[in-house]
Structure formats: C-alpha cells, structure tokens
C-alpha cells in the first residue's frame, strides 16, 4: 500500500512545500489540511494549493511513503496551533474578562478569556477555549485535570 502516490512532494529553499503533478506541473506553497483536526486528526488530510483548491486527498498518513509523511507532518506541526491545557495555574478573577495562567503541552502561557461563552463544550469532558485573540486552547479531559485546576475551571462552567 505504501508509496502508491502519483505525485511528488518536496520542500524548496523558501520553506514552501512544492507539489509536482504527474504531468510535471509544479505548485508552490501547498499546504496540508486536516479534515477533522479535533475529533479525528489522523484521518483525511487534503493537500490544498495556494488558491484553496484541493490537489490531493490522503485517507490516512500511513498510506504515504515515509519521506512524504515526514514532510507533511512537519508542515502540519508548523501550521497547527491548538495548545492543550494541562493545568490551570491562576486566574485573575472569576468575573470575565479574566486573565488565565496555564500550563500547556507547549509551555506556560497567559491569555485573556473574554467571556464564559468562549468556552465551548466539545464533548461531555472536553472543552475548547477561545482567547481574546482568537487562539484556540483545548482541554482534552477536564475530569483528568488536577483538583486545583478543576476547581478554578468549575467557576466558569
């Protein structure tokens, strides 16, 4: 199964992904996009050209040759920014807007929560928080947080 693709992928010196069609036509600035970034990140990835048109569809990353997979994964890592909150350290107050200091999988961060309505329930236990700049932060399982974090979070739910 592996390696059955009819196009070529490479990265140029400008740091852009280059997609070469079977016909030899080259497209610069191609980006991989996940179809279900939160619920099913590994299934269904599309390669999109700079005009937003779909060039290729990848059912799952495992289908790709190792080299392409690495390219796409690095590009995805470069594009995706949904820090996952591991711990709530401090909130400035329980009245919004409130400044949160959190520990995420991408290091410690501070952000401003504009209102409780910016905390969206994805499933029973997972939450998506949108900060004042529109960045999304994920709490994968709020029940798995430590006691202190849960207590702080509980004020906003």
């Amino acid at each position: 199964m592996s390696g059955m693709v009819d196009y070529q992928l490479s990265r140029n010196t400008f740091g852009r992904l280059v997609f070469t069609e079977p016909s030899g036509l080259m497209q610069e600035g191609v980006v991989p996009v996940r179809s279900f970034p939160i619920t099913d990140p590994d299934q269904g990835i599309a390669l999109i050209d700079s005009h937003g048109h779909e060039l290729a569809w990848i059912d799952q990353l495992a289908d790709l040759p190792q080299e392409y997979r690495a390219l796409i994964e690095s590009e995805l890592a470069n594009r995706e920014f949904i820090p996952e909150i591991k711990r709530l350290l401090k909130v400035s107050g329980f009245v919004t807007p409130s400044t949160w200091q959190v520990e995420t999988d991408r290091g410690d961060a501070t952000f401003i929560l504009k209102g409780e309505e910016d905390i969206r329930r994805l499933t029973v236990s997972s939450l998506m928080i949108t900060d004042s700049h529109g960045t999304h932060l994920l709490i994968r399982d709020r029940l798995a947080l430590d006691r202190h974090s849960r207590k702080l979070l509980d004020h906003f739910l």
């Binding site: 010196t13 400008f14 740091g15 890592a77 470069n78 594009r79 995706e80 920014f81 820090p83 400035s92 107050g93 329980f94 009245v95 919004t96 807007p97 409130s98 400044t99 995420t104 991408r106 290091g107 410690d108 961060a109 401003i112 504009k114 409780e116 004042s132 700049h133 529109g134 960045t135 999304h136 004020h155 739910l157």
Partner: protein
C-alpha cells in the same frame, strides 16, 4: 526625528534592553521591534525582532547570541497568518533566511516593523529615504502610531481587559448629578425615618421599668404614664410611616429617571457607532444591555442600595443608643455581629457561584430552543423531532443536576441564619441575666436591648447580600459604559468640510482595509467618473461588499484614502455625506410602518406626490395599489406579507426619493427569480440614470448596463474593463463568465444581450 527614535528605544521591553544596548554599534537606533511569543516549533517562548537603521536583529530568550542581517540587495520581510498564529519571514533572492512565529494581537506592530524594514532597506540601496508620516502620535504603551483622530490606541484598547471593579459604580454619578438636590433630600428623609423606627424599642425600657415591673411588685398602673408611652409609640410609628413613604417615593422617582437617562444616552451613543461595532456584537446582547442591564442598575439604586444605606444608618444609630444606655452590654451585644456577618457572607459566596452556574445553564437551555424553533422546518423535514427533544432533555437534565446541588446549600441557608441569630440573642440573654442578677441593669434595659438587636440580626442577611448584588450591578454598569466609552471607529471630523453639491466622482487611492487581524482588501486604486456605472465582480469573499462599505464609510480605510470630488470622505460630516448615497441591499429591510412611511424613510418630509412618483419610477406603484390599504398598508414585521421582489422595489423607491448622486446596488437582484429580476431591472434602470453607480452582482447578466467592470480577487483588483475587453483577455472574468454560462441555462438569453450591448457600446 531624533526624539522619536530615542523614544522608541525606551519603549523596548525592559527584559531586552540590557542585552540589547550592548549590541548597538555607533549611531545605531532602534526603529521598530516586535515581541515574539512562540518559537519555530510553536511552543510558548519569548523572543524579539528589532529593526534598526543598520540591520535586522533577532533573539529568542534561550539563545546565546543575537542574530543579525544587514541591509542588502534582495532581502524581503513578509508576514502571513493562519488560525491565529502569524509568521514573519525573511527571504533573500535564493532562500528563506529565518522565520518567527507569534500569536496575533499586535498586527499593527508587525506591519510597522515590516514598513520600517523595507523603508530602511530602500534607504541603504538607493540612498533615498521615503519618509512616511512620522508626525503622528505614538501610543505610550505599545509604540503603535496613532492617526491624528484616534485618541485611544486601538491595540492597547483591545488588550486592557480587566474585570469590572466595584468602583465602576461611581461612574454612574455622571447620570445622578442632575438629581443631586433630590438625592440629598432622599438621604435626609432616610436618616429621619430610620431614627423614627428606633423610637419604639427605646420606649419599651421605661414601659417595662416604670409600669410593668412596679405593677408586678404590687403598685397600681399609672394610666397617664401608659398613655404617654403608648401615644409615643403610635406617634413614632406614624412618623416612620410617613417619612418612609416620602423617602421611598422620592428615591424611586430619582432612580427611575437615572435609569431612563442611562438608557437613552446608551441608545443614542450606540446608533452613532460604526458598522464595525455592530458586526462584532450579537443583537440579543446589545438589546439585553440597554434593556435588562439598565433596569438592573435601576433596581440596584432604588432598592438594594437604599436598603443597605438604611441598614448601615440603623446599625450606627442603634450602636450609639446601646452604648449610651450601657456600654458593657452594648459591647457584648455588638461583638457577635461581625462574626455572624462573616459567616453569612461565606455561605452566600458559595451560593452565588451556584446561582451563576444556574444562570449559565439556563442560557444553555435557551440556546437549544433558539436553535430549534427558527429551524423547525428543517427539523421536521428531516424528521429529527426525537433528537431535538433528546437534546432539550439533556440540557434540562444538566439544569436539574446543578439546581439540585445549589438547593442543597440554599435550603441550609435560611435555617443557618436563624440559628446564628438565635445564638447571638442567647449570648445577650446570658450576659443580661447575669447583669440583672448583679443589679447592674434593669429588666427594661435588657428588653430594650433584645428588641434592638432582634431588628438588626434580621437585617444581617439582606446586608450580606449587598456584596454580590453590588458586584452584579458593577458588572452591569461596566457593560453599559463599554458602549458609552466606545469611540466610534468612524469618527466625525473635527473641522468638517461642507459640500453643497456633489458631482459624484469617487477616487480610491491605495485603499486597504483590515478587519481585526485579517487583511481584507489591499492596494485598491480606482477612479469612478461622475455618472459612470461600475460593476464589481468576483467570488464571494473577494472584497466587493467591503469596498462598498468603505465607500459608504460604514468602516474607515486602514490604509490609503477615499476621495469624493477631490475631498477626503473622512473630512465630511458623516450624515451629510451619506445623504448623497442611495443604497439598495440584497435583503431590503422594511420598518414597521406604512408603505408610504417606508418609502419616505430617508426624507420624512416628502410630499405624497413625491412618494408616488418615486414608487412609479420604481415600478412599485401598481402592486402597492393592489394592496388592501394602498400606500397606507402596513409593512415590516407583523405587517403586510410582501414578496422579495416587491420589497426590493419599495427599497428602490426609497433610494429614488432621496435623489442621491451616488448609488450603490449591493446584490440588489440576487434574491429574486429571473422574471422578477427583469421587473426590478426596469426599476433600477430608472434609478441608475445620470448617477454614479456602483453595482455588485453575482449574476453577471445584471451588470449589462455597466460602463466598466472591476474584477476583484482576494481583496485586489485583478482586471478592469468592459465586458468585451475582459472576454477578449480570457482572464479571470472570462473564466467566471464561462462558469456561470455553463451552470445557469436560464440566463443564456440575458448573456447574449450582455454581449450585444457591449459590442454596441464599442461601436459608439
């Protein structure tokens, strides 16, 4: 210039200043900088990029040394963003040299950094410094340049988001000020009425000691004395009643007026805010602020604040009376007070969190309803009633769960307050009996003490409530002042230019517009001659409507300038300028009122004859006459049911009546079928004649009258020319046209006419 540079270095964030100043070489000045808050792996990290007059420098917090790039041929600094993360990239002609990632939030600083860099680069390569407008003011916090008409920094304004403090309430003074005389009267009445209520317990003391106890000891009752004491009691009660009435009425009167002023002022201010503000807010939220929040503040002033003031006065007076009777007993009586108040406050606090949760869960239940009821046709069509019912059930179940938890504490609350009160009284009893046994006080004194203390133990509960109520009122006040403090992003010019007549020439020079952090249009250059008809063409999201909004000045340009007859539209009074513009929208909005009123909306003093001739020209006259009440038929919500085409023709009549020099048709015919479109088209032809017209249309056939077509793609003008020219070019327009011709069979006819018309136009 020197001073400006100096300022800029001082503004460098303190953590970088030390390390950076040692890096500076001779005559090197910091021109711009950008704090970086992510590393290249998108982990949170600190870093900075600095542009000086010699080079570009950068450092991340973990790095040992500063990276530097000196100005040389081929360098390019660009910025792009995706999903809230920006990327600043430095290229030379061969490769990408470096890149930095940051969370969006200071978009202006980024564009300033790039602008400074490119400007310096140009200086180093050509020796010429293209001076930009550095005469502008700089924001003291973030060094963003402010344009002359902005008083507050748009960047910082968005960043400073502190929760409301109770002091916000003091800002209400602005609205209370006109009523200060009546407020003072109200306060004095409060003092007097409270004093009157304190008389009866005082009278129990002599009543007990001079009448009842002597009687028990075998002496006869002194009738005169009893009459005196009892009439004192009655008098005090009546006095308290009259004073209480006067004070409550007076203060309710004032607070109602303050509330009304607040509402009107907020609404008036809201109407003057720019389209941008309305775009970012939900209608329900704004309505709630003006309606419910002002009412909440109102009730807070007239009820809670008044009660609290009364209670404080009462406690103060009682304390004075008690101490004057017997200091020791007074001390024992008053000591438990703070403890009990604190305990009550503790319980209340927990309850408040619970109640807030209940509020939020209610919102969730409402959301399910708001989701389903307007979409009921879809629900029924897909037979998903059961699923929606289940969703509602789930939300309700959560509501129950949280309510159960709150009720567990809530049900405990009142008994707890009673228990604490009883314990307090018990302490007074114990100490009092001991004092009586020691002959220190009389029975009357103890009775009076118990009567006094019973009163304000009861008030403790309501007093403890004031904390959370005040917080809520403060939050409400803040939400109101959020609107009142919002400076319109489309400000009135300080020195407006009045144009008596308008020719209708519109010129756009290097126009760019950003919405939030997203850049929507860039580098638009366009001159529209008086009387010319321009068609704006492009995919949805290509910036057509934005361009129209900019020309109407619903938004102000972020870059460049828009001129009308050679005057910057920002220098004209807004209302006066918009009088020259007629707007026909895709979804015509009819207000509740008669058809005649709706047509005359832009010119309320129009005569009947004017209204009718406008309606005739808009091809609306005949169908209006067919309505049961003709021009007096009601339109708008709950009014006459009118079809899309009919409403559109009314809105065309509305635009015709004000006889504007500039006409804007924003997808005026796209929500109706092709037959109706032809009717509307006839009406539009009357409207367009002799006016500068800008038309947006998805269906290219509607633009057959246009002198020129402007093709937009992703915020830029990609092609310009009439239909024939653009078709001959076989570019973007050609593809768009082909795609439509293929898809819409019914429009083939009109497309032929487009071609014919354009060809005919060429022959002329």
């Amino acid at each position: 210039m020197q001073q400006f540079i100096h300022l800029s270095l001082n503004n460098l964030p303190p953590i970088w200043v030390d390390g950076f100043s040692s890096q500076l070489i001779d005559e090197e000045n910091v021109l711009a900088w950008l704090e970086i808050d992510l590393n290249t792996r998108l982990h949170f990290a600190q870093g900075i990029v600095v542009v000086t007059n010699h080079r570009l420098m950068a450092k991340m917090a973990g790095d040992e040394i500063w990276q530097e790039w000196r100005y040389q041929q081929g360098l390019l600094l660009t910025q792009r963003d995706y999903a809230g993360v920006g990327c600043l990239e430095l290229f030379d002609s061969k490769a990408r040299l470096a890149y930095w990632r940051y969370r969006l939030g200071n978009d202006i600083a980024v564009s300033r950094l790039i602008e400074c860099f490119m400007q310096q680069l140009g200086y180093h390569l050509t020796g010429k410094l293209s001076l930009s407008t550095h005469t502008q003011v700089q924001c003291p916090n973030c060094a963003t340049l402010l344009s002359s008409d902005q008083e507050e920094c748009p960047v910082c304004d968005k960043q400073i988001r502190t929760p409301p403090s109770t002091w916000t309430l003091l800002r209400l003074w602005r609205f209370a000020k006109p009523y200060k005389g009546r407020l003072l009267t109200g306060f004095l009445l409060t003092l007097c009425s409270t004093a009157a209520t304190l008389v009866p317990p005082y009278l129990t003391m002599p009543l007990m000691d001079n009448v009842l106890i002597p009687y028990q000891n075998g002496q006869p009752i002194d009738t005169d004395l009893v009459t005196l004491y009892l009439s004192g009691l009655l008098g005090a009660a009546i006095l308290a009643w009259v004073l209480g009435w006067a004070r409550t009425y007076m203060l309710a009167l004032v607070s109602e007026r303050i509330g009304a002023d607040l509402r009107t002022a907020t609404y008036e201010h809201l109407l003057n805010l720019s389209q941008e503000y309305f775009g970012g807010k939900r209608t329900g939220d704004l309505m709630a602020r003006i309606g419910a929040e002002t009412d909440r503040i109102n009730i807070f002033i007239s009820l809670h604040l008044l009660d609290f003031a009364t209670d404080v006065i009462m406690i103060g007076m009682t304390a004075v009376i008690l101490i004057s009777i017997n200091p020791w007993l007074a001390l024992v009586t008053l000591l438990p007070l703070p403890i009990i108040a604190w305990l009550i406050h503790l319980v209340r606090d927990r309850l408040r969190i619970g109640f807030e949760k209940v509020d939020r869960i209610w919102a969730e239940v409402n959301n399910v309803l708001a989701d389903t009821i307007p979409g009921i046709r879809v629900v029924k069509a897909f037979a998903q009633e059961k699923r929606e019912a289940a969703r509602f059930h789930a939300a309700n179940q959560r509501n129950l769960q949280i309510n159960d938890r709150v009720n567990r504490i809530w049900s405990l609350f009142t008994p707890t307050v009673t228990l604490l009160t009883e314990i307090g009284l018990l302490v007074v009893w114990i100490f009092g009996i001991w004092q009586i046994s020691e002959d220190e006080i009389t029975v009357g004194v103890l009775t009076a003490f118990l009567a006094y203390i019973g009163r304000f133990y009861i008030r403790l509960d309501s007093m403890s409530r004031i904390v959370s109520i005040t917080q809520k009122a403060a939050a409400g006040t803040k939400r109101i002042f959020d609107i009142l403090d919002h400076v319109s992003s489309v400000p009135e010019s300080a020195h407006p230019v009045h144009l008596s007549t308008v020719q209708g020439q519109i010129e756009l020079r290097n126009v760019g517009f950003r919405y939030g952090t997203r850049s929507i249009t860039r580098d638009i250059n366009l001159v529209i001659k008086p009387g010319e008809m321009i068609g704006l063409v492009g995919h949805s999201g290509s910036g057509k409507s934005t361009l129209v909004n900019l020309i109407c000045r619903f938004y102000d340009v972020t870059e460049g300038i828009i001129l009308i007859d050679g005057h910057d539209i920002r220098s004209l009074p807004i209302a006066e300028y918009r009088k020259h513009i007629g707007l026909v929208l895709q979804e015509p909005f009819l207000f509740y009122g008669t058809i005649a009123e709706n047509i005359a909306y832009g010119k309320p003093d129009a005569t009947r004859a004017e209204i009718i001739s406008a309606a005739r020209a808009a091809h609306a006259h005949e169908f209006i006459l067919r309505l049961p009440h003709g021009y007096d038929s009601l339109a708008g919500e709950r009014g006459q049911a009118l079809s899309g085409g009919e409403r559109q023709r009314i809105s065309i009549a509305r635009a015709l009546l004000i006889d504007p020099r500039i006409l804007i048709l924003d997808e005026a015919t796209s929500s109706v079928d092709t037959t109706t479109e032809k009717d509307i088209q006839k009406a539009l032809d009357n409207l367009v004649r002799g006016r500068t017209t800008i038309a947006i249309a998805h269906r290219l056939s509607t633009l057959r009258e246009a002198n020129r077509l402007i093709v937009l793609d992703r915020g830029r003008i990609v092609e310009m020319g009439n239909h024939a020219e653009l078709m001959a070019r076989e570019g973007y327009y050609y593809r768009l046209y082909q795609a439509q011709a293929r898809n819409v069979d019914t429009e083939d006819e009109s497309f032929v006419s487009v071609v014919e018309h354009s060809v005919a136009g060429e022959r002329e």
